[in-house]
């Protein structure tokens, strides 16, 4: 196994350790938050080197194959969650929801072929990087919202572990999740704009309703609907949380499902 994959394995093991610790701490009502953050950061450092080595070897970033997209998104999602974990203490309990979501992605990554793909000439533009940067921030902030929304849903489902009962009430949690959704909405909008500029240069049209564009717009529309709904009617927190999960599921399918079943030239760059 080469250094690139060894470092990736190390990172995944550290992420798993951090996530498992967070879940165990939630059950036992302990708060080893600094340790969890430190383990995630060390994992991110190893993962960054792994991605850098692959970038150097192939001459292009991790945007082409499912392996690369999963790996780079596990990295970016954890980086954004770690940042939120550090700066917004209220999202720390959400690790019990966020980390299992990432475990699923990591498991998927481990069974995916790491063989390199062809880097099309239309990907050699700064707009690709802008597009994917916005996309990653969008998904990262929505994941943080999903974590907080997950706590509301766990309580709604009747789970009564000590760490859940000690959390702020559902209304406060919902508002916190909504703030991350608002940030996500801005970045999803920026992602669509940057993607349209790239598409104009790459394929001579800024928007053609190809499967990826359609699904990305559907996600934007659901976000717009949710934000509008929330300011129009007084939503119960669990309904709002369920809608945040719906947004995430749609975004997840757009990022990791559609590009790999579509035959359109627009493939998964995010």
């Amino acid at each position: 196994m080469n250094a690139e994959l060894q470092l990736l394995w190390l990172a995944l093991m550290l992420y798993t350790l951090a996530g498992s610790t967070a879940i165990a701490a939630a059950v036992l009502a302990k708060r080893p938050e600094r340790i969890i953050l430190a383990v995630i950061v060390i994992g991110l450092a190893a993962h960054t080197v792994s991605l850098g080595l692959r970038w150097e070897r192939l001459g292009h970033g991790p945007f082409i194959t499912l392996f690369e997209i999963l790996s780079s998104n596990v990295w970016s999602l954890l980086a954004i969650y770690a940042l939120a974990y550090w700066r917004v203490p209220a999202v720390r309990p959400a690790a019990v929801v966020v980390m299992p979501v990432l475990f699923l992605m990591m498991a998927w990554l481990l069974v995916t072929s790491s063989v390199a793909g062809h880097f099309p000439p239309t990907y050699r533009t700064v707009w690709l990087y802008v597009h994917l940067l916005f996309g990653k921030v969008f998904l990262g902030t929505v994941l943080v919202a999903v974590g907080v929304a997950g706590l509301i849903l766990l309580r709604q489902a009747g789970l009564r572990v000590a760490s859940l009962t000690q959390l702020p009430d559902d209304v406060r949690l919902e508002y916190l999740a909504f703030r991350f959704i608002m940030v996500g909405f801005i970045f999803e909008s920026l992602m669509l704009v940057a993607g349209a500029i790239w598409a104009q240069d790459a394929w001579g049209r800024y928007w053609a309703w190809d499967p990826l564009e359609t699904w990305a717009f559907a996600t934007w529309l659901l976000l717009a609907f949710f934000i509008h709904l929330r300011v129009t009617v007084r939503l119960e927190p669990w309904r709002s949380a369920a809608l945040i999960w719906a947004v995430f599921v749609l975004a997840f399918l757009t990022f990791f499902g559609v590009p790999f079943v579509s035959t359109a030239p627009h493939k998964g760059a995010v």
Binding site: V88, A90, P121, V171, W209, P211, L221
Partner: protein
């Protein structure tokens, strides 16, 4: 929390048109239209235009009737930018042009497209966007994966001065608002000289099917200009031009023949050889290449970009105001 639900009465019709509940219904309708179009693989225009048009009316009514927009500049600018986006998208749809063309090396674009679609109000000025193809290079990676395309073009600017550029992949040629992009379509173009008996000499090319996509179908049927004679022409060569095992470049074969069938007669021509026909003499001069282009015109592009930036910036401003007003761990 800011609410849009309560709107002062300025007449029932305006209040109804401005209702944010109507907005929710229209957003759902738009999603349904997009979903249905996607599932049925149908034309998206109607499914989008009806709910988008209604959304624009709803938005305009809301801006007129709802005082929250007068209190909150960021929100007002955001929704005005959204309105502008819908209007610009509609204007673009009515005036756009999308088309395809092919040019042999040295050939000048004369405004004729091989395929096109255009908005109802598009007024073509393609004849002003003349340029010549000066040939191309295309690199292929292992596995015959197309890498960079470099296509030399030349044109005369508005002052009559000769201009040259290399376009390809993400770099189009932009002339009079028309954006010309190289496409993946390109191939071989035999150059013929036709000497009709008693007529003027004519030089021309035929564009064989795209290579390497149609590697084993390098043949074409065409008609001699000014006659009823149909020729079937096929390019023949034995070399491997694009080796899947190594990096390669699009190039002409070093040795080749052109098979020309006229009725029952079959001829094999090398460059410089000719066929005598009752109507004149056909000389096969040499083998060249052709490049396929897509052309796109939409005058709204920079305005759409500006409206998008304004929408996102004002939305960010609005959310910033909301978020900055309270700490991240604060109450709703």
């Amino acid at each position: 929390m800011q609410t849009f639900a309560v709107i002062p009465a300025r007449g029932d019709w305006l209040a109804a048109a401005a209702s944010s509940r109507v907005t929710l219904v229209l957003l759902a309708l738009l999603a349904a239209g997009i979903g249905a179009t996607y599932a049925l693989d149908a034309d998206v225009t109607f499914a989008l235009s009806a709910p988008l048009g209604l959304l624009a009316l709803n938005l305009a009514a809301a801006i007129a009737a709802n005082p929250v927009f007068r209190r909150n500049t960021a929100l007002l600018v955001f929704h005005l930018a959204l309105l502008a986006l819908v209007v610009l998208a509609a204007a673009g749809r009515l005036t756009y042009l999308k088309g395809q063309l092919e040019l042999a090396e040295g050939e000048v674009f004369n405004g004729q497209l091989t395929q096109s679609e255009a908005g109802r109000w598009h007024r073509s000025q393609l004849e002003r966007a003349q340029f010549a193809n000066e040939g191309f290079t295309i690199r292929y990676e292992k596995g015959v994966n197309r890498a960079e395309t470099r296509n030399g073009v030349r044109w005369l600017d508005d002052n009559g001065a000769l201009q040259r550029a290399v376009i390809g992949d993400i770099n189009p040629l932009v002339l009079h608002g028309y954006r010309f992009y190289t496409s993946s379509n390109k191939g071989f173009a035999p150059v013929f000289v036709w000497h009709p008996t008693g007529g003027a000499l004519r030089r021309g090319t035929i564009n064989l099917p795209s290579y390497p996509v149609h590697e084993y179908r390098q043949a074409l049927e065409w008609q001699l200009p000014g006659t009823n004679t149909t020729l079937w022409t096929m390019l023949q060569f034995d070399e491997v031009l694009l080796d899947p095992e190594q990096v390669s470049q699009f190039r002409l074969p070093e040795k080749h023949n052109l098979v020309v069938r006229i009725g029952e007669a079959r001829h094999e021509l090398a460059p410089g050889e000719s066929i005598s026909l009752p109507q004149g003499m056909l000389v096969y001069e040499r083998l060249s290449t052709w490049m396929g282009y897509t052309v796109f015109y939409d005058w709204t592009l920079p305005w759409l970009f500006a409206a998008c930036l304004l929408a996102v910036a004002s939305m960010a401003w609005h959310f910033w105001q909301k978020c900055a007003a309270q700490p991240w761990d604060g109450d709703a």
